[in-house]
């Protein structure tokens, strides 16, 4: 989707209104996001007449009847809003029980939802405890749904009004909680069409996207505006797409929002997915310099530093986050990563648990906790943690991969296979996923499928969309995988085919030099020549192996054998 340059003053106004509208409805994250985006734009030039820009305190609905209702219920609304602000959600909901304006209805139901979530969190008690799971549910949902369904479920496909968009969003959230994906997606799409500036609705819509096809399907139904562009960008990022068009779209958007830290973070994450850690590190570093109190996405930064094994820097970030706010899930993830890098896994788990106590939907914490449990050889706990991670966000390939590995440990290959499949579907250009799948098929005694997996792994290596520069031999095959394919053919008793792949494996020495695997391939070929009574070739290959390498003993034995048979070629 191409980004067109919108009318800047209008965009200004729309974002100001969006901030106010979201915060009036207590959708605080949406308000924060819109305000950040607003301030990242270049300031408007002062009007020549010296007129003050219009102030948008309590923007009334554009619909006359709605506006009249809102004005009528303004006092109750104000009371309810102040209750919400002091976290008395049930009271807030109760005040608005009989109100009719859509704004009031939304706040009535939304506060009920929040109250239900709060009770659910309290009821689930300890993280990963017996009551923590899908069995403990938000009990208000069915009431909210019964109120909302007649209001927003339009069978005739009629467009919703701006005020109804928030109701549709809430409806979508509830449907998501019930795992009713298709209906949820419909509700969320109708919400973002009716009012595109509620970022929270876009985020929830993104959570229903599993794959590029999904995204493509959704795109057909969306209008092309600045918000849908932002949505496409962030969803592509979440789907690990790091190709050039996405970077250029990001560049386009940065023209409109030159200082947006959110957009810059997206860039950093794109680099991170392409394993270009240096670039990602630099962007995060610069962001931190501008806004040292920003904790958003810091958990991702700590992941980058972890992979780069930059312990001092990670320690610094952890200290920084701790001094800013030690009760933010992000902070605890950063600290957890730091402990993990120091191999203090118990402490790391404790940090991640703390993060999850603060916010049960903290994706990073679940995945990272899974990794820690793997380190601690607690497979079942690891599986549980990974499972919760993919339940929150099905696009986290690390969690899927982790699930696969854990089930391999438990020798439940069918399960493992499925999880590897999901990981590979998310990152089809990542050979690690396909290799894991191939090994899994091998353990299931299904060599032909294993071959197909390994071939994928082979191809992905040089088809990676990453633009990374430090891979000079981009067009070479991994001899390790070639060797595995050959072994699979051997298992299939297709020796001729196996020999071909062994040859290919040996041939890779031109590109990568002699390795253990190529040595093994050569040894195999020597034996193959021996069996086929191609004495000269057997001799040649064995002789080469006799010089050094792992196969020396076996090669020498072969040479002796040849000699004893008096077949040595002069």
């Amino acid at each position: 989707m191409a980004t067109e340059l919108p009318d800047i003053p209008k965009l200004h106004e729309a974002l100001q209104l969006a901030t106010l509208k979201c915060s009036e409805r207590c959708v605080y994250q949406g308000a924060k996001w819109a305000a950040e985006l607003l301030t990242s734009m270049a300031p408007l030039p002062a009007t020549p007449t010296g007129e003050l820009p219009p102030a948008y305190l309590h923007p009334l609905s554009t619909n006359k009847t709605e506006a009249a209702l809102e004005a009528q219920e303004f006092s109750q609304y104000l009371l309810a809003k102040s209750y919400f602000d002091v976290k008395e959600y049930d009271r807030c909901s109760h005040v608005l029980e009989k109100c009719l304006s859509r704004k009031a209805v939304f706040l009535h139901l939304y506060s009920k939802y929040i109250a239900g979530e709060k009770r659910k969190d309290e009821a689930s008690e300890m993280v990963l405890g017996p009551l923590d799971g899908a069995g403990t549910q938000n009990k208000e949902i069915s009431y909210i749904m019964s109120v909302l369904q007649p209001k927003v479920d339009r069978k005739d496909g009629e467009k919703l009004s701006e005020d109804e968009s928030f109701l549709a969003w809430l409806y979508g959230i509830c449907l998501l909680k019930q795992k009713n994906e298709t209906a949820a997606r419909d509700a969320l799409i109708s919400s973002v069409i009716a009012y595109p500036y509620n970022w929270s609705a876009w985020q929830d819509l993104a959570s229903t996207v599993d794959s590029l096809q999904d995204l493509n399907n959704i795109l057909q139904r969306l209008p092309n505006n600045i918000m849908s562009n932002l949505f496409v960008l962030s969803t592509n990022q979440e789907l690990y797409q790091t190709t050039e068009p996405i970077h250029s779209q990001l560049t386009d958007l940065l023209v409109i929002f030159p200082t947006s830290s959110w957009l810059k973070t997206q860039r950093a994450l794109l680099y991170y997915h392409a394993r270009d850690f240096e670039e990602a590190d630099q962007i995060f570093d610069s962001l931190l310099a501008v806004d040292p109190y920003r904790l958003d996405y810091l958990d991702h930064y700590s992941n980058i530093l972890y992979v780069m094994e930059r312990r001092p820097k990670l320690g610094f970030i952890a200290q920084l986050a701790l001094t800013t706010d030690r009760f933010r899930p992000e902070t605890n993830c950063v600290v957890g990563n730091f402990y993990s890098l120091k191999s203090e896994h118990e402490k790391a788990v404790q940090c991640f648990r703390r993060a999850l106590t603060l916010d049960k939907t903290c994706l990073s914490a679940w995945t990272l906790m899974g990794h820690e449990y793997v380190e601690m050889k607690n497979t079942h706990a690891a599986i549980e943690a990974y499972r919760r991670a993919v339940d929150i966000n099905r696009k986290d390939y690390r969690a899927w991969y982790g699930l696969g590995l854990s089930y391999e440990v438990l020798e439940m290959h069918y399960y493992a296979l499925f999880y590897f499949q999901r990981a590979a579907a998310l990152r089809p250009y990542d050979s690690q996923m396909w290799q894991a799948m191939g090994q899994c098929y091998d353990r299931m005694n299904r060599p032909s499928e294993a071959i197909r997996s390994f071939k994928r792994a082979l191809v992905t290596l040089n088809k990676s969309p990453s633009t990374s520069k430090d891979e000079p031999e981009a067009r070479s095959f991994d001899p390790q995988i070639l060797h595995q394919i050959a072994i699979m053919y051997e298992k299939l008793r297709q020796s001729k085919e196996a020999a071909k792949w062994m040859e290919a494996c040996m041939a890779e020495e031109e590109n990568v030099g002699v390795t253990t695997v190529t040595g093994q391939a050569r040894m195999w070929l020597a034996r193959w020549a021996f069996v086929n009574q191609n004495w000269a070739r057997a001799q040649e290959l064995a002789n080469l192996l006799c010089q050094d390498g792992q196969e020396v003993e076996e090669a020498k034995a072969l040479v002796r054998d040849l000699r004893s048979r008096g077949l040595e070629v002069a």
Binding site: T243, P245, F418, E509, N532, L544, E554
Partner: protein, 625 residues
Amino acid sequence: MASAPPTAGEGSSLNLTSRRKGAPASNPKMEEFLRNWRQDALNKHQHDAAIFVGDKLLALTGDPKDAFWLAQVHFGNGHYNRALSFLTRNDLISKSTSCRYLAALCLMKQSKYDEALTILGEKNPSHLAFNTPQAARRKKTSGGKGDEYEKGNLKFEAAMCHLRGLIYAKQNAFDKAKDCYKQAVLIDVKCFEAFDQLMKNSLMSPDEEWAFLESLDFANLSVDGEQGQEAQFAKMLYTTRLSKYKNPTAFNQATEKLSTDYNLANNADLIVARSELLFTQCRFKECLQLCEGIIKNDSYNFAVYPLYLACMHELNMKNKLFLVSHDMADSYPDEPVTWLAASMMDPHFGPAWIGFAHTFAAEGEHDQAISAYSTAARLFQGTHLPQLFLGMQHLQLNNVTLADEYLNTAFNLCKSDPLLLNELGVVFYHKDALQDSIKCFTKALQIADDIESNPKAWVATKANLGHAFRRLEMFDKALVCFAEVTRTADTNDPQVYSAIGLCHLQAGRPWEAIVNLHEALAISPQDPVATELLEKALAENADKDSIFTTTMLNTDGTLITQDSDDVDAIIRSHQREQRSKRSGGSTSRPQSSHQAPRAPAAPRRRLADVTRDYGGMEVSDEDEL
């Protein structure tokens, strides 16, 4: 009955000619004075005074009417025996209907049912019912004073029919009791007691009730004999008492009219009727609100309590239920509604038996539940509910045949209860008559919709329908049902997700099946069905080609899909490239550049194994590579 004493003269039904011969000449002025005095005393519940004066009056007049009134006062005072002996002594029983009635009532109060029945006679005076030819004739010929007398007499005949019914009910002869009650109302529409007995104990099926209402003689109520507003009013009042399973429109019309035209909108009885309708529609919250409204005005209106408590039970408001039950136990320890084990105090309080049985059923004690339901079935012959519950119990015990029998009996009593249709559907489902079961479920849902019932209550039926569709391999329809179930249900049910998974699995979509089965296991991790299905789905998934088909974004922003064939093509082209490079460039092998091993070495194999493996293999053809 005696609580609203009519003024002397009115309601008099004694045979005026029975005055004793040779009595002294009457002194009308004195009689009038004494009658007024007696009446005044009665109005003030000063029974002693009334007896004293009444006695004198009787001495003065010797009028059986006055004798009746004296007996009435004795009765009102609770001296049933004395009233009875008084009536017997004066041989009034055989002479007048009203006295016979009073005598029977006295015996009833002393629990001497058989004797009461002897007095009343076992037969109903069916010829008196308004719709018989005799009645028509009577109507034509009668007129003037005789008509007045006839009317009063009829009322007592009706009341006696009602008493007869009560006695039969006490003797557990419900069929006879029902006939008696019906006769009572047929003779006199105003005999509400009998009508109330019929309705309260649901002695008739809904269809029967509506037919019965139509057969009643409301026209008689009108002063001018025409279908006037009195008739309409009474009919509407009665309509509100009928079974709520049928004809909600007629019911709504009646309540509407009563509320607007007769200022009864806030009348407790009418609200109770409305909340009963809401209860049958499973709209518990609204029902509860109405009940609370009544209780606010009249905190001990017992008619509403069974409903109120049931609502609170349905809505799981344990805390409030606790408070209310304690409050009631403190204030009214003698009322049957107060106690759960009410069956001990009033064995004819039917709801208690059903409630009693429900407790057993909930505890899984099927045998006790069945026996309790059976008692209820005996008590409530007109309602299908006990039969239905019996059927449900047997269904749970897997006695499909027995369940079928009970449910069909219930179905004959009431054809429009969605719950019953649901259970029948289940029976059909178990008997593999899937089309029939789909018909039942669809009908149940349709009726539930027609009576504007809360859709939440019918989630199970919807799920059942989904299962039936699934068994018929109509997966799309089944999935629509299940999706609706997940949307309307209060809590996420793992079994629904398992069912969705099974549908996808049978439809050959293992991926979707796995996703949904995961949801089921997320809710209930040890679910054996879901686990087994998941394993099946995973195995099927492993055979799918789609594993190797993936999509990614191309450099030009379009989507590209890769499958195994594409992969083979890429590999071939790569190999061609390599070969041309090798034949063109130097073939020298960088032998010395040893790298660190990139992967752990594969386990060593002995040569002998290898040579044995390769025995008989064809010779490699290197040119092809």
